[in-house]
């Protein structure tokens, strides 16, 4: 799916006043995704949220393709990413989780920059910058011209990026991008994600959560594992010489 939703947040003050209390009442673990247009703004948001009870961690959206100013400009420059993370790091005692964009040549270098700047974890991937045109009207399908591509189409690229980042950093990774089934969850975990997020699949099937959870539990039981962490990063890279017939194509 292609989206140009932009950020429909209600503002940090209203979020703290209206949304946080009922979540707190349910004892939910809330990770707040924040986006700013300047380093200062990110730090300021982090400071405000640190004082609000019930926030477990901050995810820094430095990768939203739908916001011209800010967001992606930090996500596509190593220095920018480092600066934002470092500033937020200084501003808050909460865990800081920058969210990386896949629209770069070498995502692992961004994970490394985030780790060096003091991030507690990284999330990846945000959406791919994309475009679709209605051939009858010849107009872009999205009023915004560009949008972010998410969903199953991007999964093999996202899995590759999680694997690359796993080789590059020691901090935990939240993997995402196109998860639709429990097998997809397992694929990200095996590639090196410590946890996963699911976006688009919710829109297609609002009952996706129990399906993923039951499937993940069944997979772990079937393979004799007691915990998710037992399979994190366990992809086996086969020794070239000992392989069976080489597979050169898939799907």
């Amino acid at each position: 799916m292609l989206n140009a939703i932009g950020l429909q947040g209600i503002g940090v003050r209203r979020f703290i006043d209206e949304r946080l209390p009922p979540l707190r009442d349910q004892r939910a673990v809330v990770i707040v995704n924040i986006c700013g247009t300047t380093v200062h703004e990110y730090a300021e948001l982090a400071r405000i949220l640190s004082d609000a009870p019930g926030v477990a961690a901050l995810e820094l959206n430095i990768s939203c393709p739908n916001i011209k100013e800010g967001g992606i400009t930090f996500g596509c420059s190593l220095q920018g990413a480092h600066d934002v993370v470092a500033a937020v790091r200084r501003a808050t005692p909460l865990p800081v989780i920058p969210k990386l964009t896949p629209n770069v040549t070498d995502v692992a270098s961004f994970a490394r920059a985030a780790e060096e700047a003091g991030a507690d974890a990284v999330s990846l991937v945000n959406t791919f910058l994309a475009m679709a045109i209605d051939v009858e009207t010849r107009r872009p399908r999205l009023s915004n011209v560009f949008g972010g591509l998410s969903g199953p189409a991007i999964r093999p690229i996202a899995v590759r990026m999680v694997y690359e980042c796993r080789q590059a950093v020691r901090i935990p990774i939240m993997g995402m991008g196109g998860i639709m089934t429990a097998d997809d969850v397992v694929e990200f975990l095996i590639a090196g994600a410590d946890a996963v997020q699911v976006g688009t699949a919710n829109f297609v099937d609002p009952f996706i959560w129990p399906k993923l959870l039951d499937g993940l539990t069944a997979y772990l039981a079937r393979h004799g594992h007691g915990a998710v962490r037992d399979i994190v990063g366990t992809v086996e890279i086969p020794d070239r010489s000992a392989t069976t017939a080489p597979q050169r194509i898939s799907t």
Partner: protein, 322 residues
């Protein structure tokens, strides 16, 4: 804010077992967040029915009516509500599409067994719905959205439909007739080829006024012309609610006509919807915070609509005139 749920919504370093994963119901949308162990708490969720296609009646080159077996949705739906439909073929788009519930199907004892869709081909999924064969299945999630308010028996209810905008009025007409509210359908289209089911409404006891732009059936011109005449002629004391569904320009004209004469309207908007559950924010429309208010805000029409008071919609921002 929960466009995403996080399967591991807890401090990352303590992520241990799948069974410990706990998320939360965020009050912001209808997507379920609460998952305790693997026992999902999904009370209050709409039904997701793999509905059997009973028949597909092609009315013309563009329009068709698909009858579906789906008792759970048929029993729960109220006039103006919709379903999110997923068509399952290779290359089918990922996202569901919104459709009004058209007729309610009932068995001999009058129990709801399913419903139909009035479909007009405009793109990928509507083309697939046109091509459906009986025996196929269609995944339908619903009922969703805010229904029309059904006017009090004392007053009158007018329905204004443009083309495929007729769809939500079959259930509304039945509800109005059931409580004895006199109902009129103003129904317009480009030509006679865009007008269907007029007889269905007449048999129900609905007065039907027709107009076509090319004059091939009923009055020549826009349906707003007879509507305006009748509105002007209606005694001020007669309570009236006008419901409109159709092209945005038509709904806007109806809302403005009515407002000028102090009449209430409800319009059923049709923005592109990605999820139907408040999760994706694709369907936001600008509405005034109060009837006279200058301030407006963007609200999701899948949750807070698709039916809105006509005088709350900020028509200029929704679809500026050309």
């Amino acid at each position: 804010m929960c466009t995403l749920g996080c399967l591991a919504g807890q401090p990352l370093k303590s992520l241990e077992t799948a069974a410990r994963i706990v998320a939360a119901d965020c009050p912001d949308c209808q997507l379920p967040g609460s998952i305790k162990g693997s026992q999902a708490i999904l009370r209050g969720m709409p039904a997701d029915v793999d509905a059997l296609v009973l028949s597909n009646d092609r009315l013309s080159e563009a329009y068709n009516v698909v009858k579906l077996a789906a008792p759970a949705i048929a029993a729960a739906v109220r006039p103006g509500q919709f379903v999110m439909v997923r068509e399952d073929h290779a290359g089918a788009p990922l996202l569901r599409r919104p459709f009004s519930v058209f007729e309610i199907l009932r068995d001999a004892a009058g129990e709801p067994t399913g419903f139909s869709l009035l479909n007009k081909q405009v793109g990928v999924v509507t083309r697939a719905l046109y091509a459906l064969e009986p025996g196929a299945h269609l995944q339908c999630l619903g009922p969703l959205g805010q229904p029309f308010s059904v006017a009090a028996p004392s007053g009158a209810a007018w329905m204004v439909a443009g083309g495929v905008g007729l769809a939500p009025f079959a259930t509304l007409a039945e509800a109005l007739r059931a409580q004895g509210t006199p109902a009129t359908l103003f129904y317009g289209g480009r030509s006679v080829r865009d007008l269907y089911y007029a007889g269905w409404f007449e048999r129900l006891g609905v007065r039907v006024v027709l107009a076509t732009e090319d004059g091939s059936r009923g009055e020549a011109g826009l349906i707003t012309a007879p509507l305006q005449r009748e509105l002007a002629a209606l005694p001020a004391a007669t309570e009236l609610m006008i419901h409109a569904c159709g092209p945005t320009g038509m709904m806007r004209a109806v809302a403005q006509l009515a407002q000028a004469l102090g009449r209430s309207t409800e319009v059923s908007l049709e923005p592109v919807m990605g999820c139907g559950l408040g999760g994706c924010y694709s369907c936001v429309v600008p509405v005034r915070t109060g009837p006279q208010a200058a301030a407006s805000q963007l609200v999701r029409s899948c949750l807070h609509g698709p039916v809105f008071p006509g005088d709350r919609v900020v028509w200029n921002e929704l679809a500026p005139a050309h």
